[in-house]
């Protein structure tokens, strides 16, 4: 049986993992930081899988969307980016950040009702400033600026219902 090797770069939050994968017959192997693991995937139902890492089993729920994988594992929710290593290297050489420079567009972190905007177009905000108050589940959630910037556009108005990832504010 052929042994197709592939190298991947995986990014979770800001941590990078350099992994080498290979298959030998029925078995799949991963090398990370000099350690070698035998792994397997079995489908449970829908998007739920049983993932085996050596002798340890975990249930994983995996959803793929636009190049990232969102997964639930051991009670944690994670967004994971997987790239072939060569591509990641090329991307880094060219200097294209996968994340972009600063946050230009602020999106709703959850569905809810816009109560009020704390800023107006042209306002300069600092990191941590309140931008918009969204009510969800009877609670007020203050959406704060994650970086400094000038408000270019506000896409919502008080009383408006928003879905998760709907655009709220754009910075210049």
């Amino acid at each position: 049986m052929s042994d197709i090797k592939e190298r991947f770069l995986v990014t979770i939050d800001n941590t990078e993992y350099d992994l080498n994968l290979s298959r030998q017959g029925e078995s799949c192997f991963v090398e990370l930081n000099g350690d070698k693991y035998e792994v397997s995937f079995d489908k449970l139902s829908g998007q739920n899988f049983l993932f085996r890492l050596n002798e340890n089993s975990s249930e994983i729920n995996i959803t793929k969307n636009n190049g990232t994988i969102s997964m639930f594992l051991d009670g944690s929710e994670m967004d994971v980016k997987v790239e072939p290593y060569s591509l990641a290297e090329l991307r880094k050489k060219v200097g294209v950040s996968s994340e972009g420079k600063g946050v230009k567009i602020v999106v709703a972190p959850m569905p809810g009702l816009v109560l009020q905007a704390e800023v107006k177009i042209g306002d300069e905000v600092k990191k941590g400033d309140s931008l918009i108050i969204v009510e969800a589940m009877k609670m007020e959630n203050i959406i704060k600026a994650t970086s400094a910037g000038t408000v270019k556009a506000i896409f919502v108005s008080p009383g408006q219902a928003v879905d998760k990832n709907d655009k709220l504010i754009e910075f210049e």
Binding site: S2, L21, V39, F49, N61, G75, E77, E140
Partner: protein, 513 residues
């Protein structure tokens, strides 16, 4: 006075509706459920003996519409309404409407709810019943400049509380004058939205108190007893997340003093039914009256686990006009119970609500584990209501055993599709100071300043990285293997993963044609 209850309308949703429907069935009583538009397939709407549509999804158009609920009660010939907690549970007007409609309201009389539900009136009642109060508390309504001088007088930090409040809604801690008016405005907005009553007041913010409450039961004939205490100091947003009984610092002397104080205010206010008297306890074991909750509390199962008393069943008995069937001396606290509230929230992002569909759901089981849940696999978590989806309550012979068992059960609990507080609860159970019983209401901020609640997050991340790479690798290989011009027959097509990809590509093809 004695009137047998045969059918109860459960005027609520979620886990508490499920709890009460179960209580009805256990007591041989028929249950009537109500559901809003988005709760059409909710678990409580599947369990009740009869169900009726109550209105559109926003609670103001459904679970809060008093006339509609009374109409359903009459139509379904229910003799009683159990309001659960939240929604209409502490609404005196609704209790009154039940009384005038000839329907038993399972809770105290409307006058009692009005009196104790108004926190300002409740404080007066507590003074009459000789209960110690939080020092330096004063009150006001909306005049900002007046509030500022009152806050100055009390001394910062002050606590803004909603007069009609509960569950931490409309509550804000204010450290200094600059933030006072903004916080008051926001508290008024939140209180108006949650309770339809925007009155707020100020209290001295007692630093590092423990929140300890006494469960009481009182019948129509003036008898009242207490069922021990619950320790509720593990909070976020001033809202309880983990409760236990007994309280780790409780002494028999203190329990007797607090229990008797609770019984005093209950008797003074002519209370009937199940209720909770909340206190703050400082590090020197001084206690201060906080409020009386005139309803069944979220955390009531903790008391049920240690006393063996079914509080919902007792509510039915009291509402039927029966005398309390046991005396204070009959109440025993056996072992230790811990409740973890499971919220659809992301603890790492400041406990932000997380909505969506529960993709996978499996409850823990085994010795000493009870789960009161309002959801099942496939349930949607709507944006309109409280994000609590379940409560996991665990009993152990002693506190250490209860903690170990809680950890075990949390490990078994599987919810995917949205973020929950399961990992957070495990982090609390593993925390050194929690295990010592050494904690107060500032626990979450103090012990987890970085909001990192998973003790093994680096291990989990590494595992996630490996699994994601494998998932991608197997996916790419499969595509390669099946592509024309490439060598066929490579790798295995037998494992579950390959079949998943095949079924996906078949689905895709089917869908595009």
């Amino acid at each position: 006075m004695d009137r047998k209850i045969k059918k109860v309308l459960v005027a609520n949703r979620g886990e508490i509706a499920v709890r009460i429907i179960r209580g009805c069935a256990d007591a041989g009583i028929k249950s009537v459920g109500i559901y809003s538009e988005c709760d059409r397939t909710a678990y409580h709407a599947r369990l009740a003996d009869e169900v009726y549509y109550v209105g559109p999804s926003p609670s103001i158009e459904s679970y809060l519409v008093q006339d509609k609920i009374i109409e359903i009660a009459k139509k379904s010939k229910a003799d009683a309404i159990h309001p659960g907690y939240g929604f209409l549970a502490e609404n005196a007007e609704f209790a009154k409407l039940c009384e005038t409609s000839g329907i038993i309201f399972i809770g105290p009389k409307s006058e009692t709810i009005a009196l104790l539900g108004d926190k300002l009136e409740a404080r007066k009642m507590a003074i009459k019943a000789n209960l110690p109060l939080v020092p330096g508390a004063e009150f006001d309504n909306s005049n900002i400049s007046e509030v500022e001088s009152i806050a100055e007088k009390i001394g910062y930090p002050v606590l803004i509380k909603a007069a009609a409040g509960g569950g931490g809604k409309g509550m804000r801690v204010v450290e200094d004058k600059e933030k006072l008016s903004e916080s008051i405005k926001s508290a008024i907005r939140e209180a108006t939205s949650a309770f339809g009553d925007g009155r707020v007041y100020l209290e001295k913010y007692v630093i590092k108190p423990r929140h300890v409450e006494i469960q009481i039961l009182a019948d129509m004939y003036g008898s009242a007893i207490y069922l021990g205490e619950r320790e509720c100091s593990i909070q976020r947003r001033h809202q309880k997340v983990i409760e236990e009984s007994p309280c780790p610092i409780m002494t028999p002397e203190l329990l007797k003093k607090m229990g008797e104080a609770a019984v005093n205010i209950v008797k003074e206010s002519k209370y009937v039914g199940a209720g909770t008297v909340e206190f703050l306890v400082d590090k020197d074991l001084n206690f201060y009256f906080l409020e009386v909750n005139t309803r069944l509390q979220v955390e009531h199962p903790v008391t049920e686990m240690v006393t063996g008393i079914d509080i919902v069943r007792e509510q039915f008995r009291i509402a039927e006009g029966k005398k309390l069937s046991f005396k204070q001396d009959d109440v025993r606290q056996n072992g230790h119970a811990i409740e973890c509230r499971i919220y659809a929230e992301n603890p790492e992002q400041g406990f932000m609500p997380s909505t969506g569909t529960i993709e996978q759901y499996r409850e823990p089981s085994g010795p000493g584990v009870r789960v009161d849940a309002g959801v099942v696999a496939g349930s949607q978590i709507p944006i309109y209501y409280d994000p609590m989806i379940a409560k996991m309550v665990v009993w152990g012979a002693n506190r250490t055993e209860a903690i170990e068992r809680t950890l075990r059960a949390l490990n078994e609990y599987r919810i995917s599709g949205l973020s929950t507080t399961i990992g957070f609860a495990s982090a609390v159970m593993s925390n050194k100071n929690f295990r010592k019983g050494d904690y107060a209401t500032d626990f979450v901020e103090k012990e987890f300043p970085e909001k990192r609640f998973s003790c093994h997050i680096d291990d989990i991340k590494q595992k996630a990285a490996i699994s994601a790479a494998v998932f991608e690798y197997l996916g790419r290989q499969k595509v390669t293997v099946n592509s024309p011009g490439k060598k066929a027959g490579n790798g295995s097509t037998k494992n579950g993963w390959s079949q998943y990809y095949r079924s996906r590509s078949i689905n895709r093809m089917g869908g595009s044609r």
